[in-house]
Amino acid sequence: MALVHHARAIEILLVEDNKGDVYLTKKAFEDAKILNNLHVAMDGEEALAFLNKQNGFHDAITPDLILLDINLPKMSGREVLDKIKNDERLRRIPVIILSSSDSEKDIIDMYDLHANSYITKPVDVEKFNEIVNAIEDFWMSIVILPTDTPKG
């Protein structure tokens, strides 16, 4: 298995229904050191359509990283995560859970569903930047990825 180093922008899919959070997340990533393209899906179904390149997302890019909110309308983040991790083509995409819950149970549940990381949504705006930093660190540590993952 060959290891490929990427110098291109990271393709990130943010699955988030809260426009405020979308705004704050976007804002934080705009200031990020790392080059990134942030795609937003407003609910679980949309997220899966994006990932499966369906329903108007035929041209969508397979993301390098998914930021997944748990509380989503229609299809919960949990289900989305479950579907991703049970899909041969998608399951290697790192999924970072964004949640307003800091409950240990929720965290364990998500890891049980093979979430790659779990981040509690900050109340402090400054913390958004920290999170982005953390995601950058996370990304840097997992850039050695299987070769067949994201393609432009």
Binding site: S100, S101, D102, K121, V123
Partner: protein, 876 residues
């Protein structure tokens, strides 16, 4: 009823008694002398003369002293001696044996005698009376015929009175006495003439009463032994026995059975006073007791020979036997009458009849059975009165008197004024009283009353003149006249007979039984009502498992058709697992002999049961277990409600969780964008605008804390997962470290006082509690001193006990309970920050472990929170 009223007239009771005793004590059975109309020999078994009556010299020449020691055979033929020997050797000398005998004097004079012989102690008594060829009945055949006729005629007599009259007539006919009387004793040994046969010119004694002292006790005793007594001439000069008893220094000879025995001088005077010259009396016995006498009198000296006396005596015995029949028949008829009353009453008092109603309807039976005129029934404080009764006030006093003075079952008095100190008004109503208690406590009574029976008693002579005083005291001297003396007796009723008392006893028993039956029945009915109105399923089984009682609720619940299940074994009705469970539980209850509670779920006939059952032993009156009672309550509804409650609680928890969870997002937005606003536009805002932003941020921050704690509180649940063993020391170390790391706690001292245990508890729960307690201890510090927190551990048999003690501001006692209520705070937020969830959270955790939180605190000194966690966790 006649009393010996002698006493009240002239002498005190004591004086009279002395006089009577004096007479009673006269030793009339050993008078040491005989009447002169015959000869008496006291002989040895060899017919050697030991004593002889002094008049023997009339017959045999010489000195009586010379005769002592001689043998009877000197004067009697060998054949006759042989016959006498045979009589003696047969040994049957009691009763007296009669024969005839020829005695030849030395002068070769031959005399014929009626001879009787009996044994008195060691000696043989031979009595001779000169044979009288002029006597009416000479031949045995004649007197056999007489007695035969008498007996046959007796059977034709139809009434007692006729029986009496027939007897006296026949006795007079066979004996030739001028007057023959039938003298009957009453219960006090007074006598009354109840039949009389006399020569026409004589005045009648019929109906006359004679005081008991006329025939004193020892005379009555002799009458009971020796049934016939003849005094041919009351003016006789007694003949002594030779040698006399003083000479011989021997015991005097008992002449009880002697026909010749001498007579008490008093008796002789008595007879003379009434103009009697000769007398004969024959005892009439009933049930071995002297019942009366046939008293025969003659106006001149009069002797009747022994065979006639024997015939008369036989007639008397025959009469007694017939009388006995009559009396038995009368008694039987009275008894059977009483019994029929009693049966009718018993039927009337059947269990389903009211006692009061029955008494009202059937009171005549209660009166008739006892031959009473009135009755009062005192039952449980109520009085029922029927017939002729005295005033109620008297009845109350009577009952009081009975309770105080009378300890026996029956109180029977024919004269209440004589036997009690109760003043009786309207004495006529209540001369006779018969009282029988109807309760073992002797508080309830049935009291029968008999009216006064005014009686005119005709005494034979005025009794009070009979007693004279001499140097040695009072002596009874016989009355000079039998002139009719009439006395009115007041305050007496007819005497209560044994049959009356028996009937009264039976009635009392019937009423007592009825009372008990009614009480029992009432209790039984009450119990049945309780059983059948109870929602509980109740049954009683005996120790063998047979169903004795089962209530309606149980029958319905188990779809049992009817009460036929009573009497069946419970295993014939309940089967399988259920029966097995019942058996086990019964065994436990009977084994441990105490009430026990069981909870059981089972299915019977397709119906589901959730029961709480109390089973307990039932004891009989002697304290032994005889049955077991089972009472079950259906807790299905309770269970359902419980389940419902659990569900709704869960729902609430979920709601609280979801609400608090979903609230996080908007509050986060508020916080974030307010911050952004401040960060990017603060420069463009006026002073007020910045202030508003600050308020918004503070509010958002506080709301975030509240939501956080609420979320934690609502998320608590130990149900699902296993509870691990944790090392509380390790957990505490982390908690304390975290607390000390906080800036505001830099100067605080947190000490673990002793070793912390390993316990079974979820770590987050233990940590939550300890964090809360320690942070509270530090938070509510007293400003003037350095905060110090002591954490300690102890244990009891059942609990782990963790204690967190501080030197803070303390808590007022009235708030000890409030502090555990969610959102309840004692301080404003700017004094001490907090959400009011911490202790509520602790309490909730502790509740889940079935533990306990205890607060001790003193305002100004500090508080100590002790948490008790059971060592053995019971999980629902």
């Amino acid at each position: 009823m006649v009393q010996a009223l002698v006493a009240r007239q002239a002498l005190s009771d004591e004086e009279l008694k002395k006089a009577i005793d004096g007479c009673d004590q006269e030793p009339i059975h050993i008078p040491g002398s005989i009447q002169p109309h015959g000869f008496l020999f006291a002989l040895s078994d060899d017919f050697e003369i030991l004593k002889v009556s002094a008049n023997i010299t009339d017959l045999i020449e010489g000195n009586t002293r010379d005769l002592i020691g001689q043998n009877l055979s000197t004067w009697i033929t060998k054949d006759k001696i042989g016959e006498l020997r045979d009589i003696v050797s047969e040994g049957s000398l009691n009763p007296i044996r009669y024969t005839t005998l020829e005695l030849t004097t030395k002068k070769q004079e031959t005399h014929q005698f009626d001879a009787v012989m009996h044994r008195s102690g060691e000696v043989l008594i031979l009595e001779l009376e000169k044979h009288n060829p002029d006597a009416k009945i000479v031949h045995q055949q004649d007197f056999y015929q007489e007695v035969m006729n008498f007996s046959v005629q007796l059977q034709k007599v139809e009434s007692q009175t006729n029986l009496y009259e027939y007897l006296v007539e026949e006795v007079r006919k066979i004996t030739g006495f001028s007057r023959v009387k039938l003298y009957r004793f009453d219960e006090n040994w007074n006598g009354q003439i109840i039949a009389e046969s006399k020569e026409l010119h004589m005045s009648s004694y019929l109906g006359l009463h004679f005081p008991a002292s006329d025939i004193p006790k020892q005379a009555r005793q002799l009458y009971s032994k020796n049934y016939l007594r003849l005094i041919p001439d009351v003016s006789f000069a007694p003949v002594s026995m030779m040698p006399d008893d003083l000479d011989s220094h021997k015991k005097p000879i008992d002449l009880s059975f002697s026909t010749l025995r001498s007579v008490s001088p008093v008796h002789m005077e008595y007879l003379k006073n009434i103009g009697v010259e000769a007398s004969m009396s024959i005892s009439l016995m009933q049930n071995n007791k002297l019942w009366g006498l046939v008293a025969c009198h003659h106006h001149t000296p009069y002797h009747i020979p022994y065979p006639v006396r024997m015939a008369t005596e036989l007639m008397a015995h025959t009469f007694s036997a017939f009388l006995s029949n009559f009396m038995t028949a009368d008694e039987e008829s009275e008894k059977s009458q009483k019994e029929s009353y009693m049966r009718e009453l018993a039927v009337a008092l059947r269990p389903n009849k009211s006692l009061v109603e029955t008494l009202k309807k059937k009171h005549t039976l209660i009166l008739q059975a006892v031959n009473a005129d009135g009755v009062i029934i005192h039952l449980e404080g109520k009085y029922f009165a029927f017939g002729l009764i005295p005033e109620m006030s008297f009845c109350h006093r009577l009952i009081k008197w009975l309770e105080d003075n009378h300890n026996e079952q029956v109180f029977a008095s024919e004269s209440i004024s004589r036997d009690t100190n109760l003043a009786v008004q309207g004495q006529a109503m209540a001369s006779g009283v018969l009282a029988i208690p109807v309760s073992t406590e002797m508080t309830d009574y049935v009291i029968w009353f008999r009216q006064e029976q005014t009686e005119e008693v005709n005494w034979a002579g005025k009794p009070e003149k009979n007693i004279t005083e001499s140097e040695t005291g009072y002596h009874l001297t016989p009355r000079a006249s039998f002139k009719r003396w009439q006395e009115n007796i007041r305050g007496y009723s007819k005497r209560w007979s044994d049959n009356d008392i028996q009937a009264a006893n039976n009635i009392s028993k019937l009423l007592l039984n009825k009372k008990y039956e009614d009480t029992l029945k009432q209790k039984g009915q009450d119990l049945q009502s309780i059983l059948n109105n109870s929602n509980a399923f109740i049954y009683i089984i005996d120790t063998d498992g047979k169903i004795m009682t089962i209530n309606d609720a149980a029958l319905e619940a188990f779809d049992l058709e009817d009460r036929a299940v009573a009497g069946q074994h419970y295993k014939d009705i309940f089967h399988g697992e259920l029966a097995q469970m019942m058996e086990n539980n019964h065994a436990k209850v009977l084994g441990q002999q105490k009430s026990m509670t069981f909870e059981k779920d089972f299915i019977f006939n397709g119906k589901e049961f959730h029961l709480i059952t109390v089973k307990f032993p039932l004891y009989d009156t002697s304290g032994d277990i005889y049955a077991l009672c089972s009472m079950s309550t259906d807790i299905s509804k309770l269970r359902a409600t419980e389940g419902e409650l659990k569900r709704s609680n869960k729902e609430l928890e979920r709601m609280a969780f979801i609400a608090s969870h979903d609230l996080q997002e908007p509050i986060r937005m508020i916080a974030n964008f307010t911050q952004l606003l401040e960060k990017e536009y603060a420069g463009q805002l006026e002073g007020r605008g910045r202030e508003y932003i600050e308020f918004t941020q503070n509010a958002a921050s506080r709301m975030r804390d509240l939501i956080h704690d609420l979320l934690q509180y609502s998320r608590l649940n130990i149900e699902d997962t296993d509870i691990p063993i944790i090392d509380t020391q390790e957990e505490l170390n982390v908690i304390i470290q975290q607390a000390q790391d906080m800036e505001e706690n830099q100067n605080a001292e947190i000490v673990v006082m002793n070793d912390m245990p390993k316990i079974q508890m979820k770590p987050e729960h233990f940590n939550s509690i300890m964090q809360n307690l320690i942070s509270n201890a530090l938070k509510y510090r007293a400003p003037e001193r350095k905060p110090k927190v002591e954490v300690s551990y102890s244990q009891s048999d059942i609990n782990h006990e963790f204690s967190v003690k501080d030197n803070g501001i303390g808590i007022k006692k009235e708030y000890f309970e409030k502090i555990f209520i969610i959102f309840q705070r004692l301080h404003k937020n700017d004094e001490y920050e907090g959400t009011g969830v911490g202790l509520a959270l602790c309490q909730r955790i502790i509740d889940q472990y079935n533990g306990k939180a205890v607060v001790q605190s003193e305002v100004g000194k500090g508080s100590a929170f002790t948490i008790l966690i059971p060592k053995n966790l019971k999980q629902d």
